[in-house]
């Protein structure tokens, strides 16, 4: 039977990775929906209402999957990591409890009105419900990031009688990495939603369907994305500094060097060999590594050998998790810039190559977010509470067979959820926003062959 610690971790990694995709979308789409509904109330433009109704449907699908996969996590602390729960529950439990009280109930309480209440309440109360749901997603992210950041940079506690005891709650909650990691995650969610919205809009523009809808949403999404990504690049750099100060081993693994390297390459491909403490293969861009990490080409990039072997995270997954996030983030940055440029030139809605790129880019926010979380969580290893409690000391006295069989069940059933979600979402996209006026008497096949003319006609 395989290693019980590894199995417990794989199960948790699977369920949490699957879960985080959906809140990331929900956090972003909830704010988008609140803005759209607010604009509708303000301007009375029916197009905003159509945008709202269309994206509400997809939001509801994702939210549902997010809720049911999230409940699982609140129990897995106990089923998979019971010793962690007993030792750290007194610190993390109250924070997650406040998350449930201030956020889960808020989201759940107003979601019903948001989804089913159009004809039951007035537009203002409905808008209030949307705003409450959006607020709930932000509060939820805040508490969970506070709890997770405490596991990364623990503060405000004492360790007595074999357990963590909160000494100063404000220091626990506002631990050193929270002020950077929370906005980093919120921005990630908003950027993710922007690219999803932009991707769907681009898809419609390429097909010459729902053109007014697509133009409006694409403009909004690109405007959001370009501002947010610029902020994210700046924030990411600050966060890297915080990680370097508090979790040096994580930064060493991210950079992919074993020894300290002056004037270092920015490595893109490595095959780390932890036995010999070297990379058997490595490829990189000269000098860029030192420039990015130390902001000077002459700077020295620290290697993982600075950390004793027993305290090292596995280099490969941390390195590649970060590369996925960083390179996709860069790609999104340049895509948004190109979009602004095309918009300024007035050719955004016609440049098919760019629209096709946007369709391909639509899931990049999600992938980058996953990459970032892998970096953060695997980079914290071998600790579950950094520097304080090792993961091997945290698991439950449950036989590996039970963990393995439930892991299989999770994979199968979550697979079904994902299939259902993707199938229904793509059907909703294919169906398109309701009540969108189509140019009469011209079937889609004809329009698709003459895109430029069709665009002219529908403007």
């Amino acid at each position: 039977m395989p290693d019980p610690v590894l199995l417990a971790r794989i199960q948790f990694a699977f369920t949490v990775s699957f879960h985080i995709v959906f809140p990331t979308m929900s956090i972003g789409l909830a704010l988008f929906l609140a803005i759209v509904e607010g604009l509708w109330l303000k301007t009375g433009d029916g197009l905003y209402l159509r945008i709202y109704r269309f994206w509400l449907r997809i939001f509801a699908l994702g939210f549902g999957v997010g809720v049911v996969t999230g409940i699982v996590l609140s129990f897995q602390f106990g089923t998979n990591f019971s010793r962690f729960a007993q030792m750290a529950g007194s610190v993390l439990g109250p924070m997650i409890g406040l998350e449930v009280l201030t956020s889960f109930f808020l989201e759940a309480g107003f979601l019903g009105i948001m989804l089913f209440g159009f004809k039951r309440v007035g537009p203002r109360l409905h808008f209030l419900a949307t705003c409450m749901v959006a607020l709930g997603t932000i509060l939820s992210a805040s508490w969970i990031l506070a709890a997770n950041s405490w596991m990364q940079t623990p503060a405000g506690f004492a360790f007595t009688d074999g357990r963590f005891v909160p000494v100063e709650w404000l220091k626990v909650i506002f631990n050193p990495s929270v002020p950077y990691r929370l906005p980093h995650m919120l921005l990630a969610a908003y950027i993710t939603a922007s690219f999803l919205v932009a991707g769907v809009a681009a898809h419609y523009l390429l097909q010459q369907r729902h053109v007014a809808f697509a133009r409006r949403t694409l403009s909004m999404a690109l405007a959001f994305a370009s501002v947010l990504i610029a902020a994210q690049v700046f924030l990411g750099d600050l966060l890297a500094g915080v990680v370097a100060r508090h979790q040096p081993a994580k930064i060493q693994a991210i950079e992919g060097n074993w020894n300290d390297v002056p004037r270092a390459d920015y490595l893109l491909v490595i095959v780390p060999d932890s036995q010999r403490e070297r990379n058997s293969v490595q490829l990189g861009i000269p000098l860029l590594g030192s420039l990015l990490v130390t902001h000077s080409v002459d700077g020295t990039v620290p290697g993982l050998r600075n950390t004793p072997p027993a305290d090292r995270p596995p280099m490969g997954p941390v390195f590649y998790g970060f590369r996925v996030m960083y390179l996709l983030g860069t790609a999104m940055f340049f895509t948004a810039c190109a979009g602004l440029w095309l918009k300024w030139r007035g050719t955004l809605f016609e440049s098919r190559r760019f629209l096709r790129l946007l369709v391909w880019m639509s899931p990049t926010g999600l992938l980058a977010t996953l990459g970032g979380w892998y970096t953060a969580e695997i980079g914290r290893q071998p600790y579950v509470v950094y520097g304080q409690l090792r993961t091997v000391d945290a698991i439950s006295p449950v036989p590996p067979g039970a963990v393995l069989s439930s892991l299989v069940a999770f994979v199968l059933i979550y697979g079904l959820f994902l299939y259902g979600f993707l199938r229904l979402t793509s059907m909703a996209i294919r169906k398109g926003p309701e009540g969108d006026p189509q140019p009469a008497g011209s079937p889609p096949a004809v329009r698709r062959t003459r895109p430029a003319l069709a665009v002219l006609r529908s403007t």
Binding site: L61, F63, G64, V65, V67, V68, T69, I71, V72, F75, F77, G78, T79, S82, R83, A85, Q86, M87, A88, G89, S90, L92, G93, P94, I96, G97, L98, L101, T102, F104, F105, E107, A108, G109, G112, I113, L115, F116, G117, F118, K119, R120, V121, V165, P166, V167, W169, S396, P397, V398, P399, S406, A409, F410, I413, G420, F421, R423, L424, K431
Partner: protein
Amino acid sequence: MDLPSLSALVVLFSLTMYSLLDGFDLGVGVLVLFGRAGDRDCMVRSLSPTWDGNETWLIMAGVALLGLFPVAYGVLLPALYLPLVTMLLALGFRGVAFEFRVQPGARRAWWDRAFGIGSLVAALCQGLVAGALIEGVSVSGHAFSGSVLDVLRPFPLLMAVTLVSGYMALGGGWLYLKTDGLLQRHFARKALTCSVFAFAALGMLAIAGAAVTQSALQDDWRQHGLRHAAVVLLFYGALYAAVSAARSGSERAPLLWCGAAFVLALTGFAAAVWPDVVPFRISAELASSPARSQALLLWGFAVVAPMVLVYSALGYRVFRGKTPLVAEDES
């Protein structure tokens, strides 16, 4: 009252809210399997706007246990690994069925059945959990020391069936309130009556079985026989009132009486278990988190929970009245 007692009350309150609110959701879910194909949509739709908030009480109860009694959380969750993981998967099934079934192009009949089966399995698992708690889990020190298969014993299995019948009674009460026409007069009333009778009979077996399997309960019966007998009598009185209210045509009363029976059962059991939070094994005092932890969550609960109750009530109010047979608005 000291912090551990208040903390235990918060956990009990959350569990009670959950069993009442998601109880009728799960009960309706099981009844969907018995309903006519034409009625199923209306039955499920009666729950759609509020199910999410109802289920949140389960997270509240679980997380309150983690923050207030981490020792108990760490003992009980591994002990209940099998029913809990199965329950979570079943609840997931039910939850996505809720959202997916209303989508254009979804196979509604398929998802309705998934909804029903998910509800049934979740309810059975919760009964197993209740049974395992009454029987008592194996503990050494502050850790679970038994086998994950311990829950599959006769008494937990009896509790599983009992709880399903109880949830079906709640679900019948809910449908009786939220539907009209034939669905109310024939299906909901019959479902309510049958479920209440089943719940009453199985409840009797469960009460006897609890006393047989858990010796601490026998001692408790000997010491506080009168109190226990009073709770049992009131429990049966509430069930009787539920059935007779349905016969006399009062729409809200059956649900409320079934709910009262649940509250009686839960508080009766909690009183018999107190001062333990891992029933008959670890006391609230020993399982408690430090005072600062309990104080923070209790303050949060005292401030926020009343607001939660208010806007949850607002949600029910917005969607009050009969659920229309045909969907009026599915965004």
